[in-house]
């Protein structure tokens, strides 16, 4: 009997058209928890540095966590892990939806997809019956159409994970969409799925997840729920009201939005009014919706556009990232157009951030006269041009016309265009992000050290953005982590947050639940890694102390670092490129800041906190061994990496 975990890994070899079920080794759960962590362990062991991201030998590893589908109120998210075709390095993405809990009710924690089907297929998991089926009639369909067709064929009680045209056409930042609206967006996981000719994974799960100690679990879950319950917490209710659209307001005040391709960090008053979250609620939002089971917050929205050119269109979310990447970043002032773009990138199945930075690059090059109609085939690409954005997204997803210059990612687009275009691209390790981090050293460092490239979630610092000097004092012995614009202690705290996020993503939780929300709204104390230990143990029956579960977070981070080290990445790769690095922040509380002024000492502090070689930025043998990764240390030694 397996508790917490469903207890099985589904291995799908598309070349041989063979599906096998493997027991989930219990010691993996104790060492790597689940979801992202176990995905990482499989990736490290099965995808060597010789494996090209788009070759059949690459793995697409999809995982749920041990708390997914239980009452522990952290949400039920899915992690997808692979070698990234966007960056060539470690790649993973995390999405919501009811898909992961349903996978567990069907009896599986992880799916490992390998090989390549000779023609388009989809995987149909109907509890214990798992088959590979022909998907030729789904090929070419967008994500919403694919979801409709699969439900018409298999029944309404299924959940789907699907790629859109972008994944089919190997757009290198294609995503995987769960339940239509929830994206595992980053690093091109959908591109790898497309490279295997796998269009979708449909799942029906009617079974049960059992837990080791139901009474204890209930007690912990109820206590956790109290801090997130919109009936009991005003703060949770406020967050639920707006969802992540509220970040447009706080980031505008903080000076970390990305206006017109990083040329500004905050909005003029009229623009803010035009896309204000209150306007979204008053005019477009119809109701709150949930992204996954066992979440008490429900921060998502269902919206409908009442008038204008997109009248009648409806959809789910929007998230802050889309408000910025497909709106603010591109000079779009029309909120209904941003909502439409949210649907459009979801339908096409592509990461909104990378799509937005690509179009933003073209718009800035157009503004500066670097590219003209001679480059674009006659298309004009001025700021805020809704038609140009629509056309470019469609062309990028289908690798047609001028838009296909963006299909391999924004860094590669700049390479293709030449003419020094790269200086307008902000990225780390080949992946871009919109949120401007120049004035926030903790976030800039987080982008620089992130194992998957520029990204705000791998070492998600909530303490500084929420000015929680008290929490900083409690954890780090000084208030500085709670001071956003200060570099002080941001190296040490980046290591802390990186471990925390790795643990959260491995339990299968949403970082807004418990971590961010409780930090934001609990005036007394923050939730810390050790707090997860009792609930993990009650669910799984694997007894971990607070110290041990924190060590799991570190171990998972080390796996990702080791994967990149084996590919040849070193300290020189843990950096930022473009304006974030060398152009002064134009306004806001951090006016005049730029990352090159503070990044190197922070890297020193970070590597020291991690127990890495400060000169090379690589994990040491001692650090890996201390974390229980002897086999990884031996592998890196054998290859001459450390």
């Amino acid at each position: 009997m397996s508790y917490g975990w469903a207890g099985q890994i589904l291995r799908v070899n598309l070349t041989e058209r063979k599906v096998t079920k493997e027991p989930l080794p219990r010691d993996w759960g104790a060492r790597f928890i689940g979801a992202a962590g176990i995905n990482d362990w499989i990736l490290y062991n099965e995808v060597g540095p010789e494996v090209d991201p788009l070759s059949p030998e690459n793995r697409l590893i999809i995982g749920a966590g041990p708390l997914n589908g239980t009452i522990v109120p952290i949400g039920s998210r899915t992690s997808v892990t692979t070698r990234s075709p966007l960056t060539g390095n470690f790649g993973d993405a995390n999405g919501g939806g009811f898909w992961s809990s349903t996978l567990k009710y069907a009896g599986y924690d992880h799916i490992v997809v390998q090989g390549k089907a000779d023609k388009p297929v989809y995987l149909w998991i109907d509890d214990e019956d798992v088959v590979i089926r022909d998907a030729s009639r789904l090929w070419g369909k967008d994500v919403f159409e694919t979801d409709d067709l699969l439900k018409a064929e298999l029944g309404r009680d299924i959940q789907t994970a699907a790629i859109g045209p972008a994944g089919e056409n190997l757009v290198r930042y294609a995503n995987i969409m769960f339940d239509r609206y929830r994206a595992a967006a980053k690093t091109g996981v959908g591109c790898v799925m497309g490279s295997k000719n796998l269009k979708a994974i449909a799942v029906r799960g009617t079974g049960a997840i059992e837990v080791a100690d139901p009474d204890k679990l209930r007690k912990y879950a109820e206590a956790m729920r109290d801090s997130l319950d919109i009936r009991k917490s005003k703060g949770a209710a406020a967050f639920a009201k707006y969802g992540t659209t509220t970040l447009v307001l706080s980031y505008n005040a903080d000076g970390c939005l990305s206006v017109n391709n990083y040329q500004g960090v905050d909005l003029d008053p009229q623009w803010l009014e035009d896309i204000h979250p209150d306007k979204f609620l008053a005019k477009y939002a119809q109701r709150n919706t949930s992204c996954s089971v066992n979440c008490p917050t429900h921060c998502c929205h269902w919206w409908r556009i009442p008038d204008g050119r997109f009248a009648g269109e409806a959809g789910a979310k929007p998230e802050y990232i889309v408000m910025d990447a497909m709106g603010i970043h591109l000079g779009v002032r029309d909120l209904s157009a941003i909502l439409h773009f949210q649907n459009l990138v979801n339908r096409m199945g592509m990461d909104a951030s990378e799509m937005g930075t690509g179009i933003g690059l073209l718009m800035e090059l157009w503004q500066r006269g670097v590219i003209t109609g001679a480059d674009t085939g006659g298309m004009t690409v001025p700021w805020g041009d809704v038609d140009a954005i629509e056309t470019l997204v469609q062309q990028t997803a289908r690798r047609q016309g001028f838009g296909q210059v963006l299909s391999d990612g924004t860094v590669k687009a700049a390479d293709k265009i030449g003419r020094d275009a790269i200086k307008y691209v902000c990225h780390s390790k080949g992946m871009t992000e919109v949120e401007d981090v120049r004035a926030y050293p903790g976030w800039a460092l987080a982008y620089a050290i992130s194992t998957r490239g520029a990204d705000h979630l791998k070492a998600h610092n909530q303490i500084d953005k929420q000015s929680r000097k008290d929490i900083s004092q409690a954890i780090f012995g000084a208030p500085d982590v709670g001071i956003g614009n200060s570099p002080s202690l941001k190296g040490k705290s980046a290591a802390y947050h990186e471990d925390f996020e790795a643990l959260s993503n491995s339990l299968g939780g949403c970082m807004f639940n418990w971590l961010s929300l409780s930090l934001k709204y609990n005036p007394k104390q923050a939730v810390q890694m050790p707090d997860y230990a009792p609930v993990f143990s009650a669910a799984t029956g694997v007894e971990l102390t607070g110290e041990e579960i924190s060590r799991c977070g570190e171990r998972i981070v080390l796996l990702e670092k080791a994967f990149n080290a084996r590919l040849g990445l070193t300290r020189k790769d843990d950096t930022l490129h473009g304006r974030w690095m060398n152009e002064l922040c134009p306004s806001g509380t951090g006016k005049g800041m730029k990352a090159e002024d503070y990044l190197e000492p922070l890297l020193d502090e970070y590597y020291t906190a991690r127990g890495f070689d400060v000169k090379t930025g690589l994990p040491t043998r001692a650090t890996l061994a201390k974390a229980g990764l002897e086999s990884v240390a031996a592998d890196l030694e054998k290859r001459g990496v450390i």
């Binding site: 049960a208 997840i209 919706t289 949930s290 429900h298």
Partner: protein, 154 residues
Amino acid sequence: MAKILVADHNKCTGCRDCELWCSFFHLKKFQPSLGFMTVVSTIEKGQYVPVICHHCKDPWCLNACPADAIERDQKTNAVKIIADKCTGCRACADACPFGVIKVTDAGDVLKCDLCSGDPECVKACTRLAVNYVEPAAAYTEKAVAAAGRIRGAQ
């Protein structure tokens, strides 16, 4: 006056926590497919309907049961299956027009019993979409919400 269980479709966000807490309370495991309600999600329209047991005044299930194994609890108003008397014939599940009587793989027939008057689903629903209330007041809030819509104000 015994309370009644009511669902407010406009408030449901589709989180399915009601199914989850229900199955956990009654079965000690997480199996929403056996929760004594079903949240039917039409995600492409943003619509969620928690289909619950209404503990009907003239219950289809009770009337259909040939073994007199379904009774009304006078205190809670619950229409309950008496496990000792149940033969597992499933006539109640066939008769129920709402599809909320569940059958396990082992053939046991299960239905909502209002958790002895303190329903788990109600406690689980942070959105207040499932409520256990006095009948006369059950729909007042809906009327207030409708008035807001009619007058164009909240």
